[in-house]
Symmetry: C2
Subunit: 211 residues, 2 copies
């Protein structure tokens, strides 16, 4: 099994996982790489190459066993475990993420939201309490928190990350529109919504560029 | 000017734009491709190649004029215009997007939210009204709406997109965790939050994969 898989491959894995889940929902248990390719929109050779990074799963003349491949991808993606998660920043975005049902189903257990605003602290949002961001380090240690979601304003993101990391957090999902700097053993996944929106406006204007 | 720029290049453009804005904030008006490379984390040759897709901007021995490059990238990204925007789905995510200050600043003007829930319809969220999703087609035409953000549940995303497209929408920013099918003249940018989170859990588990 190769150790260093490229980010481009890694970013395609959740897509495979999602399509395989859809196939299982439809009670399809076996699929050729050609059929999978038609559904998912990658070439069959791309699919084989991607999966070969993890040992390869198809069998000549049989194709893929959907359930087996789904289960293997779940393991590869770390979805066979559960993760205690907290959200830093209890504004609309923090609340949206706290309530996003899909995460709970996949094993990401949001345990609490944290905020610096005294008017937010102590509020209950569905079954989650908003706690004082001052207390987050103690909470992370006591409640065995593994993942933190940063939904603070841009100018508080780095100090928030520093605090989280000092308390032992190894995984950060960053929604603040700024890069954060972390030690090499901490993993950060950034969701930059402005950048995504700019890609859309680029595409809307592409036809006019060389007029 | 080349017409077909690869998606990989396009996805890097907003990053250039953001870093150039930071440089202007710091009153830095001229930068070599080497210095830019150190800040942004792409190689100097990558930066030159990317920008060459749009004519190239650097001058031998001078480097880049930051303001000029920023303005050109703004045009390329379509950020020199403004876009009337609506949000389909007034839940937490829809509200979070409606309140995200960065969009307004960049010319994306959220005009209204739409929902199917009678308890939401008529509510005011800051200065935005929640309107009846039944009326969206009329609204799109009358208010000259160009971009729609889909924040509905997964199982309403396609029918919502169909309705928007029938009313003339050409740009869709889709947050529903499902692919939507659109005619070729409609541009869709997907934000799949689960897929992003799965990349984080992959990275957290990568070291254990071959144990």
């Amino acid at each position: 099994m190769s150790k260093k898989v490229s980010m481009a491959v890694i970013r395609r894995l959740p897509k495979y996982h999602r399509y395989l889940a859809d196939l299982l929902d439809k009670e399809i248990y076996r699929i050729s790489s050609k059929e999978l390719s038609e559904i998912i929109g990658f070439t069959a050779s791309q699919i084989r190459q991607d999966l070969n990074n993890f040992g390869g799963f198809g069998q000549q003349g049989y194709g893929y066993n959907v359930e087996e491949l789904y289960n293997e991808l779940s393991k590869i993606l770390g979805l066979d475990k559960s993760y205690n998660t907290i959200i830093m920043g209890a504004g609309n975005l923090g609340q949206a993420i706290a309530n996003y049902g899909g995460f709970r189903k996949s094993g990401f257990k949001v345990k609490a939201l944290f905020d610096v605003n005294p008017r937010m602290i102590g509020l209950k949002m569905r079954d989650l309490e908003v706690l004082d961001a001052e207390d987050v380090e103690k909470y992370i240690k006591e409640e065995d928190i593994e993942i933190a979601v940063i939904c603070t304003p841009k100018d508080r993101a780095q100090e928030t990350a520093d605090k989280l990391i000092a308390a032992g957090i190894k995984g950060i999902w960053n929604f603040a529109p700024t890069d954060i700097t972390v030690p090499s053993d901490v993993k950060v996944e950034e969701v930059n919504l402005s950048e995504s929106l700019y890609v859309l406006s680029y595409m809307l204007n592409e036809g006019n560029l060389n007029k």
